[in-house]
């Protein structure tokens, strides 16, 4: 992916994530009553297709946004070359994507 496209993707995902993060924080406050656990959250969100779609978009945007940001940090602060930083960031994106989509799956399954 070109440097220019990475820049664009990170800015656009930031734009998407800004309202989503606020709603996400609101949901945590609303859904949690007895401690922040997966079971607690799922007991209030399970089966809701809307939340699954919301978090589907959230996970895609967060994985891309976080990984591109991590790549920049690795290049600038860890002095890694762009190819290595890119590979580490791709791995990070994959981990975030798998963990996140597993959570989304739990909502609709």
């Amino acid at each position: 992916m070109s440097e220019r496209l990475l820049f664009a993707v990170q800015r656009v995902t930031a734009l998407i994530l800004a309202p989503l993060v606020l709603i996400h924080l609101g949901l945590i406050l609303w859904a949690v009553e007895g401690g922040l656990t997966a079971a607690e959250i799922l007991s209030r969100t399970q089966g809701a297709l809307g939340w699954a779609m919301f978090y589907g978009v959230f996970v895609l945007a967060a994985s891309a946004h976080g990984a591109i940001g991590l790549r920049n940090i690795l290049v600038e602060w860890a002095a890694l070359g762009r190819p290595l930083a890119g590979r580490i960031s791709m791995a990070m994106a994959a981990v975030l994507l798998v963990l996140g989509l597993r959570g989304v799956w739990a909502v609709i399954a």
Partner: protein, 244 residues
């Protein structure tokens, strides 16, 4: 009677091999370059430093003064002196050749990289036989060029920039500011190549908008704003599908 220290200026110069302190008279309207020159003439004939015009035009005398990059010929000692002393060092982010002299090659190479885009030389749209193009000085594009055109290539912004310190591949504020003026110049035929370079690896996307270049620029340019312009144009042209 005033204490002698009020008439003396301690000049600490970070020479090759380590800092050396010199004492010279504190004079009215003395600039940092005057102080360095006096040290060189009276105490250290082998002291290496650069200057040419002494009046803020040529951009060759930039040094780090008390840790901040400045044009030394237009920086009065009275403005920067702390407890009767100043500390002078070579510019950051550039390899030192000797004493206060840096190797400016990487700075100028990045400038020409940005200016020539993908390898082409500056390419005008017209020849000397064509009529002069009519450029409206009030047009937004020309105003953007005018705002960034007076760079004196002193590398003060380059030394001030943390992103350059972190990533030697970053083109830096001066080169990207130049790219922005070319991208808006109706007479430049290679504006697309310039934009492609400025949007590529080490280009405008690396800028953190810290604004250190703006704070340090001796001639009052705003490279951060120019780079923001490149970012904005890059993003919107991509979204519209009109950019390369």
């Amino acid at each position: 009677m005033a204490a002698p220290s009020q008439h003396k200026l301690t000049v600490e110069i970070h020479r090759t091999g380590g800092p050396v302190r010199y004492e010279i008279p504190l004079r009215d309207n003395q600039t940092v370059l005057d102080a360095v020159t006096e040290v060189q003439r009276r105490f250290a004939p082998d002291l290496a430093y650069r200057f040419a015009c002494r009046v803020g035009v040529c951009g060759s005398c930039a040094m780090s003064v008390n840790g901040i990059p400045r044009w030394t010929c237009r920086t009065h000692v009275a403005k920067v002196v702390v407890d009767g002393a100043i500390s002078v060092a070579p510019l950051r982010n550039l390899p030192v050749i000797k004493d206060l002299v840096c190797d400016m090659a990487s700075f100028f190479e990045k400038w020409t990289d940005a200016e020539h885009g993908a390898g082409a030389v500056f390419d005008g749209k017209a020849t000397r036989h064509d009529p002069l193009p009519a450029i409206d000085p009030e047009s937004p594009r020309r105003k953007a060029v005018d705002a960034g055109i007076e760079c004196i290539n002193c590398a003060v912004c380059y030394a001030a920039c943390d992103v350059v310190a972190w990533d030697q591949g970053y083109l830096g504020p001066a080169a990207l500011n130049r790219a922005w003026t070319l991208a808006n110049d109706d007479r430049a035929a290679n504006a697309d190549a310039v934009k492609a370079k400025a949007q590529g690896v080490g280009g405008c996307g690396s800028c953190h908008s810290h604004g250190a270049c703006v704070a340090a620029c001796p001639v009052g340019l705003n490279p951060t704003q120019s780079i923001a312009g490149l970012k904005r144009r890059s993003l919107f042209e991509l979204l519209r599908g009109s950019g390369s």
